[in-house]
């Protein structure tokens, strides 16, 4: 009965976790959700520390010590980290969580040994599993972190990763069985298992392309959830079990969602990973144009103050003038200032863009001439280049060899970010490469301009 009161209190924490996660999945409530989840965690920790436990020699000092060290370290890390390298950080944290399960498992195995409990019990099995999954999470996350951090390069490709992984996995299962088959505990074997698991974690993540790391992290995250749950089973501790499972489940779903967003399957990512990064975009390789996702572009648009649209022949070909105007309007509704920069020779006839935008009823005052536009870019958060190419080709400024050298262009690169909407990397009328597409600040949003624009519009509505 004692514990069931504790468990009842734990139930509250769990509810807080659930509500927290739920809120985390809506932009408006996300922040609040995070705090609620944190609250839940805080309560759970305090409960565990102070809820009387029979024949326990509390050792509060050690506990508090651990909490302090970890807490301070974690907080500083979290505050210091650059916005851009947060994913790595998450991965690292996640790994540490895994490490903790690993440690717990090791200790408990040790304890069982001391207590000389019967082998072949669910208890042992649980412990072994906790060890395995904890360790994999640990090493796997570390590798993922390293990859994102540029520590390891994708170029490090293991020979025949599939083989390696399969063999490791088999070995691990076999060994676990063997350990349980032993008359009594055998710590060396246990350690071997640990090492094998560690290797597996590395071998699992190493071959996957840097571009897919987010998915992998989310996957490892669900692992660490499961690890926590299993560790919970060891103590029959509700909050660990349920909390862990929930994270495990949501983590898995999240990974799948992420894959869908890149429209690939989870399997494809992992296998593709085994295959060595596969087609995963932006997998660190150089001089590859970065690809943007609709959703992220949408959110950036929505939260920027000033956006300039650069229409080109592609807008005309896609007949996307109305879609473009719609997006413009919904952004304006969000309080974003939207302008158009019209290059004199955009399109295939003088005034081509004028005709289109007039048709879509874009108010004339929104149209900027070349010179004005080039002045305004520097104060612009985002430039949408819609089916334009030659007219934004920097080589007209920089490369005296270029056939269009000397032509005045729209210097979009002055802006903070540039998103280019076109169907491929094909050149435009002048038939020449466009360095802009590979630029630091540039991201490509491939696909028919009209389609992309309407996607963006709806995403802006959701986000």
């Amino acid at each position: 009965m004692e514990t069931s009161v504790l468990n009842f209190l734990y139930l509250i924490c769990i509810v807080l976790f659930i509500i927290g996660l739920k809120k985390l999945s809506h932009p408006d409530t996300a922040k609040n959700g995070n705090q609620i989840a944190a609250l839940g965690m805080g309560i759970a920790i305090l409960l565990t520390i102070f809820y009387p436990m029979e024949n326990a020699s509390n050792n509060y000092m050690w506990i508090v010590g651990g909490l302090l060290i970890g807490g301070v370290a974690g907080y500083i890390a979290a505050i210091r980290v650059k916005m851009t390298s947060m994913p790595e950080m998450v991965s690292l944290f996640n790994g540490l969580g895994g490490a903790c399960s690993m440690l717990i498992a090791s200790v408990e195995f040790y304890n069982l040994q001391a207590a000389g409990a019967p082998m072949m019990s669910v208890g042992v099995l649980t412990i072994l599993f906790a060890l395995f999954i904890g360790t994999v999470t640990f090493t796997g996350s570390i590798v993922a972190w390293g990859k994102l951090d540029g520590f390891f390069r994708d170029s490090i490709v293991l020979p025949k990763p599939q083989i390696i992984n399969i063999t490791l996995l088999i070995a691990i299962i076999a060994l676990s069985g063997f350990i349980m088959a032993q008359p009594e505990m055998n710590y060396t074997l246990f350690m071997v298992l640990l090492v094998l698991s560690a290797l597996y974690g590395i071998a699992f993540v190493m071959p996957i392309g840097g571009g897919d790391m987010p998915v992998v992290i989310s996957l490892l995250n669900s692992f660490s959830g499961i690890a926590a749950a299993v560790a919970g089973l060891i103590y029959g501790n509700e909050v660990m079990i349920v909390g862990g499972i929930i994270v495990g489940a949501s983590g898995t779903i999240l990974s799948i969602l992420m894959c869908n967003a890149m429209n690939r399957s989870l399997l494809n990512v992992i296998i593709g990973g085994f295959g060595g990064g596969g087609t995963s975009q932006g997998s660190g390789r150089e001089a590859i144009a970065k690809e943007a996702s609709h959703a992220d572009t949408a959110i950036q648009l929505k939260y920027s103050n000033k956006v300039i649209i650069v229409p080109g022949y592609g807008l005309a070909v896609a007949q996307a003038q109305h879609a473009c105007h719609d997006l413009e309007k919904s952004l304006e509704a969000e309080g974003v200032e939207v302008l158009y920069a019209i290059h004199p020779v955009a399109g295939r006839m003088p005034g081509h863009m004028n005709v289109l935008l007039a048709e879509a009823d874009v108010p004339y005052p929104k149209l900027l001439e070349l010179e004005d536009a080039n002045e305004q870019f520097s104060s612009t958060d985002m430039v949408l280049v819609i089916g334009a190419n030659d007219v934004v080709n920097p080589s007209a400024k920089e490369d005296p060899g270029s056939p269009i050298y000397g032509m005045p262009i729209l210097e979009v690169e002055k802006a903070k970010t540039v998103i280019v909407l076109k169907r491929s990397m094909n050149p435009g009328y002048a038939g020449i490469e466009n360095p802009l597409f590979y630029g630091e600040k540039t991201k490509m949003l491939f696909g028919d301009a009209k389609a992309s624009l309407s996607k963006l519009k709806s995403e802006v509505a959701n986000a």
């Binding site: 659930i18 996660l21 985390l24 999945s25 932009p27 408006d28 922040k31 995070n34 705090q35 989840a37 839940g40 965690m41 920790i45 565990t48 520390i49 436990m53 020699s57 050792n59 050690w62 651990g66 909490l67 970890g70 370290a73 974690g74 907080y75 979290a78 980290v81 947060m86 950080m89 998450v90 944290f93 996640n94 969580g97 903790c100 440690l103 717990i104 200790v107 989310s218 660490s224 959830g225 690890a227 926590a228 919970g232 060891i234 501790n237 909050v239 079990i241 909390g243 862990g244 929930i246 994270v247 779903i253 999240l254 969602l257 967003a261 959703a295 992220d296 309080g335 995403e459 986000a463």
Partner: protein
């Protein structure tokens, strides 16, 4: 094998709880907009730090003179707490950007 079956049978309520937890985990975040993937991941990751409870229990049960276990346990707590505190803090920062600018 049948040890496991027994286990299940004896902890039938636990099975219910687990099943539901799985469903909840999946339901609760379905329909999350792409832009929230990373923050959500990070938040969930922080929650997975719940393993810290285990480490605490571990220490509470340990004999006050068994320094090996105590240290290991403390290390465990420390690591897990990095996950917890750091996790929530980072998530919080990620979500800063969602504070809608006033116009």
């Amino acid at each position: 094998m049948n040890t496991i079956i027994d286990f299940i049978i004896n902890n039938i309520e636990m099975m219910y709880i687990l099943t539901f937890a799985v469903f909840l985990g999946m339901e609760v975040i379905s329909k999350v907009p792409t832009v929230l993937h990373t923050p959500l991941m990070s938040g969930a990751n922080a929650v997975s730090g719940v393993v810290i409870i285990g480490a605490i229990i571990l220490i509470k049960n340990a004999n006050s003179d068994d320094y090996l276990i105590l240290t290991v346990g403390m290390l465990g707590i420390a690591l897990a707490n990095v996950n917890v505190i750091g996790g929530f803090a980072v998530t919080n920062r990620m979500l800063e950007m969602f504070k809608k600018k006033k116009k």
